[in-house]
């Protein structure tokens, strides 16, 4: 898949098959070879107004449909912080 950050607010976005963007990984266009990946990336890069820094990232697809991030970095980008956020005790 191809992912980037939305220009206006920096939110994590995924390139979808309709030549747009979604904040939901399950909407991402999944590509399975280098040529497809390059084509999807080129299309994403062309949208310089809507997105910043698009790149190709790995995913795993279970049972042909459930899409999951392919590494820890993408997992954190999708799911958010892995930590307790705020100070809780003295």
């Amino acid at each position: 898949m191809v992912t980037a950050n939305r220009t206006a607010d920096g939110a994590v976005i995924y390139r979808n098959a309709a030549q747009g963007w979604s904040t939901d990984l399950s909407d991402a266009a999944i590509v399975r070879n280098v040529d497809e990946a390059r084509a999807l990336l080129a299309e994403a890069v062309a949208d310089d107004v809507g997105a910043v820094g698009p790149y190709i990232a790995p995913v795993s697809v279970k049972d042909g449909e459930t899409v999951k991030p392919g590494n820890l970095r993408e997992h954190i980008r999708q799911s958010g912080l892995t930590i307790d956020l705020l100070p809780v005790s003295a």
Partner: protein
Amino acid sequence: MYAYDELDRTLLNERVEEFRDQVKRRLSGELTEDEFKMLRLQNGVYLQLHAYMFRVAIPYGTLSSKQLRGLAHVARTYDRGYGHFTTRQNIQYNWIKLAELPDALASLAEVGIHSMQTSGNNTRNVTSDQWAGVAPGEIEDPRIWSELLRQYTTLHPEFSFLPRKFKFAITASAHDRAAIKIHDIGLRLHRNAQGEIGFEVLVGGGLGRTPFIAKTIRPFVHGRDLLSYVEAILRVYNQYGRRDNIYKARIKILVHELGVEKFAAEVEEEWRAMGESALTLDDGVIEEIRSRFSYPAYEKLPHMPEELKKAAQVPPFERWRRNSVFTHKVQGYSIVTISLKPVGAPPGDATAEQMDALADLADKYSFGEIRVGHEQNLALPHVAKRDLPALWKALDKLGLATPNVNLVSDIIACPGLDYCSLANARSIPIAQELTRRFANPDTAELIGRLHINISGCINACGHHHVGHIGILGVEKNGEEFYQITIGGRADEHAELGMLIGPAVPYGEVADVVEDIVEAYLALRERPDELFVDTVKRLGVEPFKERVYATR
């Protein structure tokens, strides 16, 4: 506090409007990201994993209560209610929207704060001792000279497009709390044999991929020559510094490759060629800066007030006082360090509510002044000793009275892979687990002074190389691993830590640190032999043996 003049205010306001226009043009597509990136970086705006990150400078670590409320306002209004104090006297907001950034900048400008040059290949926020002006035995308030450098380097055209970023730190005390030896230029204020004030100039310190401790290139530069000497250094760097390879572009690499003697000779030649110039400071200029710093009207107070004697009978207060309260240059007053390292929390984070409440406490107990240290803690620099018990109670209610300053759970950590687009591994959860392992304050005090520093990648924002125990996150085949070093330190005896062995997986880091600490407790000669001194005496072998014997 330093009082900004009309020139400063105009500069900030113009800068806000300039950036507002740049953001508008970026959002409309008039500017591409390639064109915009350098502009946003020059205003401290990065793009991280989840959002834009906004880094705001706190020059030489000094804040007024009004300014701290300004930081709280940005956290509450434009971010998610908290901010992260960094290892270079900055605060970072992690969830800023680009479209709202100009308004956030404008609100900061109202209280005299900005984000200029908190990123990019220019001279960064000039940092200093967080106890400047109140530390006993200080030669002079180093912020006077920090401010001179700040004014001189801000938007200086020759320093705005350097080969790489460039960082200054200044101290005026024998004990270095500003980590000057790990900066591009470190300045130590002292007196020469004639009693004149000047600087030992150290160059080429830095951490990251290729760490170096700074080397002295001149033992004494008179105060009036500070700017011209610094300019000579930067000219040599601009002339010879590499621009072809980002990993070789810092001045530390130039100093290393030329050799410190040759580098110093180049600087001396450049400096001599400059001769007397407009950069030679006359006393009037220095006095003008000095006069714009105001100092509290201290009362004449007893060394040991009754309130303190009485509170000393309360063990939790006494533990906090032992670890958080430090000697002030004026009798009857103390410097109070506010730990931003509560058990289980991200190091250096503070909520908007905590910032606002701390601003109120600063007004009530510290002449409206707050300091920010590179250890990611805050300080109230002018607290009357009689007020310490009341202050402690108030801090405790806010979750800001953790009695762990300089102890094992007072951990320095970068944001790591939870936030940072450069990171390879997480830092904060490692820190949180360690604070839980060492949560018992009796144990922490038994261990004594021990600084743990954690970085999530080789860029070393958590200063892991100079941690007594340093932890560096690396990625191996898609998994988080951590290299452990011991024996580093960032003070006047600065040293780089030594690697103890192969990296360990995420789940074993806290166990390894516990092993190292247990080994230290068994190996130290006396209860007051510090961890770093035991490592210095014995080397890494006994620690390595302990850690890897069963792994």
